[in-house]
Symmetry: C4
Subunit: 230 residues, 4 copies
């Protein structure tokens, strides 16, 4: 089942290691096949050096239950399921504990759009969720993590803002393709680090003006985009 | 004697270099064979590029004296001995001067549990010992280093908290297996770095709620663990 | 056309990756052939792993229009054009979003000359432009980016100060040769990082005395230079 | 002349690159042959990738003039000469602009002995020189750099404190052997970085107690040393 997707998801997981976004067994990537209503995700707690396409796990979007695979899926699987159900236009999700994005998540601060590097990728500040209640943590924790993300996006477009910081936890990032999702995860970490350095140089730094934010985001995204090759 | 253990300990010492936790001749790993009452430890002041299994030193847990080996054991050997005698369930000890964990030790601040990355590995703040007195430094220094660690753990479970910061010195980390001990040393450095970044973004950061701390730690440790493969 | 220059510009773009100054498709290098009035620049949004000399684009200095090449030139091409028209003695331009220089640009702070490392390369603080107005952003944005740089250099010599920080954006760096421009971009990032570390250790740090600034800059640059081989 | 010494000095210069202590053409290593009264030093402004033993320059300790070699010696040669004349027991000198040590030099702050890592290598805070006067900068600058170092060491033992920070400039480090000098330069950079991280976590950090400083320094240095192999 979904042999090509397994290969692509396995490769994307390994790309996280090469990009320095994960250590040990932290982090996971999934990608969805909307036609069959299933997504492919990394197995739980398996070291990156032994990841293979055939060890990827196939999970139903609807139920978040395993459809195929001998291995347990990532413990974050229910979170992925909630996001695929709520955000119909995304094709892949990347979860890491990458250093600087996670520091902002732990500080429970949104990452302001402090420059054009950020505006090239994210159309506004990267939002942070509310804290889960003790009850939400104790019961159905992983699904509730997805729910607070969806709650935070009530007035946000997940295609214009393909990332979120889960409070006291870490980022979740997505994209319209698997490549986009990985690229956004790398960009988020870079923008988070840039923002950390910037607020140390100027503690009260604020987001850039809307004109500049729009110019850079829309130069690269949407129907008016002029960046790159046709 | 203990040929397999020597090979494993030698390899674990080299792993510290690959993980960026040690420079020059700093740092040492040991592992105990409870059946014979001996542990194997790195020789003192020997560069990592010339480490070999047969150069590892075998030391008695009881006396901390050399049982076998042509080389002097690490100068921290008495500290390892005290810990093996006090913490009966640990199998290996890792001592490094890794950058961020050592900075917290030098600042004599415990590392608060600021997020789920920390909670996945450490069931609470990573504690810091008291300072040794001048007398404790001058006489039997290395054993006294072990004793202030044990003193600090009077009300702590060394399996739920497999790391400590020795004030003005550096971390000691352990585990129920040699692999666990190395993994915990890597995780400690990462959590220390994450915490440094977080407290700069939000100076008064406090530990996460107990419910979240328990959820993440117990998801990975103990009889209720659901993380990873069965 | 300009086959040797294309090869050199392609190679210089790849050097940015090796030096850690760019990620993804950010950044671009160009170099001018004053005899023909054209410059060669990286194509827009093309990954560094597929850059080849024959994919470089030839652009007219006068019009900033493409003269040769099947690919769209970098979106920053009009900025390069303005700089080549205004600064007659420069031969190459490097634009990156390198971490520390960009943090200073985002903080809209000039980088003070805090030590001899800086003075060896830059004859004074590295300046920052004013913000563009919303109108300047919306219409002819890339050319206006060049114009605010030129405006900032009204009283500055671009050969003594081969770098600028565009406010809320990132650095542009240049040189009298392509090698110089790349070297200056590397030096700028290093000096920016050094300055960040220094102001954290001493928040009110000020530029070094003029005598020391002159001694180091003039030891390496201009007709009195004594550094290096004859 | 001094063929073995040239090979060793060339190799030590390259070691600085591998250790990440220098970029571009910054930095230089020299080593002295006390029997002939000459020292061997890196040529000026030559890239590390083209360094070869036969390009090293032989200089007289007494006069700081070139004795042999087709290349100009490092511009810092007169500084090395002053140090070899004043500190009779040192065999080699390393000058770098390594990031964290240079930041402390630019901040004109001595590096306090904040932990045992520092105490293992440096018997007290690493001192910083006074600023040179404008006159000292304009005339005979490089020799005066050596003189302010010697002036700062009037009450210090260069073997117990094998490093200094030249204010607004960078560190000079030395040792009783060439290997020691390089090792001390690496240790200085690590201790400087550790100290930067520590003072951010606890701004008013002070040096560790004398008992602990002595214990660690004397465990590794001098006639009572017990560290390492006999």
């Amino acid at each position: 089942m979904l042999v090509d997707l397994k290969r692509a998801v396995c490769e994307a997981n390994l790309e996280l290691v090469r990009e320095g976004l994960v250590i040990q067994t932290f982090g996971n990537v999934s990608s969805v096949d909307r036609a069959t209503g299933n997504f492919v995700i990394k197995p739980s707690g398996v070291g990156y050096h032994v990841l293979k396409p055939e060890r990827m796990v196939v999970v139903s979007v609807e139920t978040a239950k395993v459809v195929e695979g001998d291995w347990r899926p990532s413990s974050d699987t229910p979170t992925h399921g909630v996001l695929y159900r709520a955000f119909k236009d995304i094709a892949a999700i990347v979860h890491t504990h990458s250093l600087h994005a996670t520091a902002w998540a732990q500080a429970r601060r949104q990452i302001p759009a402090l420059g054009t590097t950020h505006a090239d990728c994210f159309h506004g500040p990267v939002p942070v969720t509310r804290l889960l209640t003790a009850k939400e943590v104790r019961e159905d924790y992983e699904s509730n993590t997805g729910r607070v993300i969806v709650e935070r996006f009530r007035k946000l477009d997940p295609l214009a803002m393909p990332a979120v910081l889960v409070a006291n936890h870490a980022p979740f990032v997505w994209g319209q393709t698997l490549d986009d999702a990985v690229r956004n995860a790398v960009a988020l970490e870079y923008c988070a680090r840039l923002a950390s350095e910037t607020v140390r140089l100027r503690p009260g730094s604020r987001s850039i003006p809307t004109a500049l934010l729009d110019k850079h985001f829309l130069r690269k995204h949407g129907c008016q985009a002029s960046y790159g090759q046709k």
